[in-house]
């Protein structure tokens, strides 16, 4: 049974051309780019080329790219750097729907005396820019907001946000891990100071990323040691990974015009599921979102049960349900949207890639209604009128108030 992979916001397949580009650096060209000899120097040239390729994807200059080990390192570095260069400021602004790489760091900083404001989102996953503006003070060191949400795909108006942030003199960091390669990014004339990307979300292997640092923005490294990356990130370069990220960035740029094909497939999947499965709904804004992502809530059933049923047919997707994660709380992103529990627990994210085919979408459209029907037949909740369900939802609403 061939796998139908619709979990590309979690990770992506390595592009064969990326693999081909990186392999010689695991076998033949293993020199250290910092070495003085020609053998290492040759490798250094490849690192330089990769830096230019990544810069091209971001519409940036090569000197503004710092290679990292992953998106989490990029995000952590950005936050710590922004605070380190402004020791007189102790306030951070972020959102309730950020990735754990941001939220966990912010929680840690709170325990160390920093103040953090978490901006809310509306039921379509959008920010209130007035709330953002009101939250900023002269003591705000950093505003860290994601470009696009990993679960719903909702895109935030980054440049509008940036203008508000810049008026208050704070550093503006953007986690673009989900956006890079899916929508055009251009740091030239942008208000963004720092921006994070991750290789394995755009068809490179896991374990590499990059941080864009706008020219002129003061910076302090997270990792100190040697003077690799012009002193911005110590540690011998992961050359095969960097070459892979460079090639993946080049390919992503090439494929950007074709993203509309992904969007068409996503829309067909979404429309098909909504029309054949009653009591289902899209979570998040319908247009302001990534072209490859749809997050659909199937009422009255639970996400893990759906995922395991899909897995039987070789279909890979993702869920924000508590049972999937091992935590007892369902997705913080979906909760922030204020979805009722009858929708929230049964929400499934399908995220496509340039490898997704029409046939794969057809297969999901055939199988998914059967799965939902079977699980709903098992469920004690069948409709919103069910007294037990209504009582539960009311109790939760009361507890919140």
């Amino acid at each position: 049974m061939s796998v139908i992979y619709l979990d590309n916001n979690a990770t992506t397949k390595v592009d064969p051309l990326v693999l081909e580009a990186m392999l010689p650096f695991l076998t033949e060209y293993y020199g250290n780019p910092s070495s003085m000899h020609t053998f290492g120097g040759q490798v250094g040239k490849e690192v330089k080329q990769a830096r230019e390729q990544v810069a091209a994807l971001l519409g940036a200059e090569a000197t503004e790219i710092v290679f990292t080990s992953c998106g989490t390192e990029g995000n952590n570095t950005a936050i710590r750097s922004a605070l380190a260069v402004q020791p007189n400021k102790n306030h951070i602004v972020t959102t309730e729907v950020e990735h754990a790489a941001i939220l966990s760091q912010c929680k840690l900083l709170e325990s160390q005396g920093y103040k953090v404001t978490y901006l809310s989102v509306n039921n379509q996953g959008q920010l209130d820019l007035d709330e953002l503006e009101a939250s900023l003070t002269g003591g705000t060191a950093l505003v860290s907001i994601m470009y696009a949400n990993n679960e719903t795909g909702v895109i935030f108006p980054i440049e509008q946000i940036g203008h508000i942030v810049k008026e208050k003199g704070a550093i503006f960091h953007v986690d673009a891990v989900q956006a890079a390669g899916k929508i055009p990014l251009n740091m030239k004339n942008s208000t963004v100071d720092l921006l994070t990307i991750s290789g394995h979300k755009l068809h490179a292997p896991k374990g590499l990323g990059a941080l864009y640092v706008r020219k002129g923005v003061r910076f302090r490294p997270l990792l100190v040691g040697g003077h690799q990356e012009r002193g911005r990130r110590a540690g011998t370069e992961n050359v095969p990974g960097i070459v892979a990220l460079g090639k993946a960035s080049e390919l992503a740029l090439t494929h950007l015009p074709e993203v509309k094909k992904e969007k068409q497939l996503r829309d067909r999947l979404e429309k098909g599921l909504l029309s054949t499965i009653p009591n289902s709904q899209v979570n998040g804004h319908l247009t302001q979102r990534l072209p490859n992502t749809t997050n659909i809530g199937f009422k009255y059933i639970e996400g893990e049960a759906i995922l395991l049923s899909l897995d039987q047919y070789g279909i890979c997707a993702s869920s924000g349900s508590a049972c999937t994660s091992g935590s007892l709380e369902p997705s913080h992103v979906l909760r922030a949207l204020g979805l009722p529990y009858s929708v929230l627990h049964g929400s499934i994210r399908f995220s496509l890639s340039r490898y997704t085919t029409d046939e794969e979408i057809d297969r999901v459209l055939t199988i998914m209604p059967q799965i939902v029907e079977r699980l709903r037949a098992l469920s004690p909740f069948q409709s919103d009128e069910e007294s037990w369900l209504q009582e539960q939802e009311k109790a939760v609403a009361l507890a919140k108030n």
């Binding site: 059933i301 639970e302 049960a305 091992g326 007892l328 709380e329 009858s342 627990h345 469920s379 369900l389």
Partner: protein, 309 residues
């Protein structure tokens, strides 16, 4: 991905006894329901039982579950285990037995087995017409506000499952899994429960010593009486087993379209052949253990072991 046993996955993909039991006017039969969990918590179980009021035997059990694979499998396992049991026997089922029936559950999913036990308790409370889970009404001792879990319930799960960390309590009944502010209180409840368990254990040891001493003292006196109550001969034993099977077990199995035949008796080993619906039912092990072996142990000899051929 969770490391589920084959049994969990089998019962998830092919659950037995799902659905509801239709109301009946038939005299002597009572249909009751037990509900536990909530959609807010991410799992909920509605258990339906059909009980013969004259014998207190659970004739049928059906479930409706909102939840993950282990919640659905636990519900199905529970129904398989209790069909054929008396209400009194079913009440003794623990969440650990449900988990064992499934070949084990991941520690983080043990709350699914607890949900089964509690739904059963709720259904039986309804059958007996007594208030459902009295300890839940202890508002003053609410410990976990996120999931509405009382001190009494935490203590009970600690004792029944010999839990010794707050994390385990969270895995079993979710208490402490929300904001986490009650974890310190849960630690205290665990410490108290263990102290109580140790005190009870010490008291029991003392009591056993006293019983042993008394037994030794009366042993000589009762020796003659023991000799009078002679054990059954093989023929008597086989005849009695056959009688119990014919008069008590067969009619009960027939209610579900099942049947059983005595094949052989070898010492304490009773070999039987399951027939009809029992021959193909995936719950036949439970039938063998609870409907046949338990009955023969009660009516013939407590040392009998029943095997299917």
């Amino acid at each position: 991905m969770w490391d589920y046993t084959e049994k969990v996955m089998d019962l998830f993909y092919n659950p037995k006894h799902q659905g509801v039991i239709e109301a009946t006017d038939e005299p002597g039969l009572k249909i009751v329901t037990g509900e536990i969990g909530s959609i807010a918590c991410g799992d909920a179980l509605r258990l339906h039982l059909k009980i013969d009021e004259s014998t207190n035997i659970i004739l049928d059990a059906r479930f409706q579950t909102f939840g993950c694979a282990s919640a659905i499998a636990s519900s199905s396992a529970l129904t398989e285990m209790i069909i054929g049991m008396t209400v009194e026997e079913a009440m003794k089922i623990t969440n650990r037995q449900i988990a064992e029936y499934l070949g084990g559950l991941p520690e983080e999913k043990m709350h699914c087995s607890v949900m089964g036990q509690e739904a059963l308790e709720a259904a039986i409370s309804s059958y007996k017409g007594i208030p459902i889970v009295v300890h839940e009404e202890d508002e003053s001792a609410l410990v976990c506000r996120c999931y509405g879990i009382s001190q009494a319930r935490i203590k009970r799960v600690v004792i029944e499952n010999k839990l010794d960390t707050a994390e385990q309590v969270t895995n079993y009944i979710k208490a402490g899994g929300g904001c986490g502010t009650c974890l310190v209180d849960i630690d205290d409840i665990i410490a108290d429960a263990w102290q109580e368990m140790k005190a009870q254990s010490a008291a029991k040891t003392e009591e056993n010593s006293a019983v042993t001493a008394t037994s030794v003292a009366v042993a000589t006196k009762t020796e003659t009486q023991v000799q009078v109550a002679r054990p059954l001969t093989n023929l008597q034993k086989i005849t009695l087993i056959q009688q119990v099977i014919d008069s008590e077990i067969k009619p009960f199995l027939a209610l579900d379209g099942g049947d059983v035949e005595l094949y052989d008796v070898d010492g304490d080993k009773v070999k039987v052949q399951l027939k009809g619906a029992c021959g193909t039912c995936s719950g036949s092990l439970a039938t063998l253990k609870y409907a046949i072996e338990a009955k023969l142990q009660e009516r013939v000899s407590p040392t009998l072991v029943v095997e299917a051929i």
